[in-house]
Amino acid sequence: MALQNPTPSEYIQHHLTNLTYGYHPENGWSFAHGAKEAAEMGFMAIHVDTMAWSVGLGILFCWLFRAGAKAAHAGVPTGVLNFVELMVEFVDKSVKETFHGKSNLIAPLALTICCWIFLMNLMDLVPVDLVPYLFMVSGVEYMKIVPTTDVNATLGMSIGVFLLIVIYSIKIKGVSGFVGELTLQPFGKWMIPFNFLLEGVGLIAKPISLALRLFGNLYAGELIFILIALLPFYLQWFLSVPWAIFHILVIVLQAFIFMMLTIVYLSMAHEHH
């Protein structure tokens, strides 16, 4: 799709399409040209832009915090250590307020979620045309730089959380305890199928809601930036500046919500009913 004077719908379509590499029934392993081909690839495809940006930002997070960890000492903190400690203490406080068990995983997990999602959300504040244009010039057709506007990214993380919920439930309560929790409440053993349906939906809803909340917020935010970008250039600042300022709140809040809900879900997995 060469974008010479695109129509608004073409423009939006273009900005919402990932750079997809996958197995196409006709073309074999190749980059998809357009959303239609990407859809035809089905599951055997990968969003190269999402992966690259998210892994890059994850490495940035690891590098930054590793630098802090290497500099960590019990004396007076300086520089990057200050920031890293601030984040660690904030996360640690949030975890301790909600989660009362003992776990070496949950606090680092929460820290990773909070920082990584924040960094991915932060890409939303980069002007929507800038990076796609630069890649377009260098010959890459599609480039979506906000990984959290890709439902695969958010669902990938929330499935990770979901697996941890299941693992911890079984570890703490045993298989029978976990199964019992799913089937024997709220209505007792004569209503097992109904209980299972109810609790199963409740369990499945956790990762789905986690993923879709983050995805929905960021996708909507991105879409509005794209719509604003369709306006004449002399009007854009009038809308994009307030929206960007408001969005600063959204990106922090969504990262925080994802983290808090993860802690809450995992602390629920640790508790007996």
Binding site: G42, A45, I46, G68, G75, P147, G160
Partner: protein
């Protein structure tokens, strides 16, 4: 909006980042934080202890000062007493000495007076004898009149 392998890729990336964070990021930082917390607590404790020590040292100083003051007062009192005692003793001694001197002087005077009286009496007796010799024109026999002369001297 297509679900595809990205999902798995993200899951793997997420797992790796979490494990990295768990292994290499969290422990040193939270360890350092805990260590610092401990140090600060120790520092505050030490400060408290030092304040308490200072307080007790102050009260000790106060006590010792009080004791020293009372000792000084006692000493001064003792000294005063002693000095008045010394003065009194000296006065007594002086008085006794004076009395003694007076007594000896009186005794000396009395003795001198007695001696003078004696010698006067002897002289008078001699004069009386000389007078009597002149009157009688004869020598008074000392031996014969010794008894008379002694009686005369007694009467004087």
């Amino acid at each position: 909006m297509n679900l595809n392998l990205t999902l798995i890729g993200q899951l793997i990336a997420f797992t790796i980042f979490v494990i990295f964070c768990m292994k290499y990021v969290w422990p040193p930082i939270s360890g350092a934080l805990a260590e610092r917390q401990k140090r600060i607590a120790e520092g505050l404790d030490a400060a408290d202890k030092a304040a308490r020590d200072l307080e007790s040292a102050k009260s000790q100083i106060e006590d010792e000062l009080k004791q020293a003051r009372s000792q000084v007062t006692e000493l001064v009192e003792q000294a005063n007493k002693r000095s008045s005692q010394i003065v009194e003793e000296a006065q007594d001694k002086a008085r006794a000495e004076a009395e003694k001197i007076l007594m000896s002087a009186q005794a000396q005077i009395a003795q001198d007076a007695a001696q003078a009286r004696e010698s006067l009496r002897a002289d008078v007796a001699k004069l009386a004898i000389v007078g009597a010799e002149r009157v009688l024109g004869a020598t008074v026999d000392q031996a014969a009149h010794k008894k008379l002369l002694a009686e005369l001297a007694e009467e004087l």
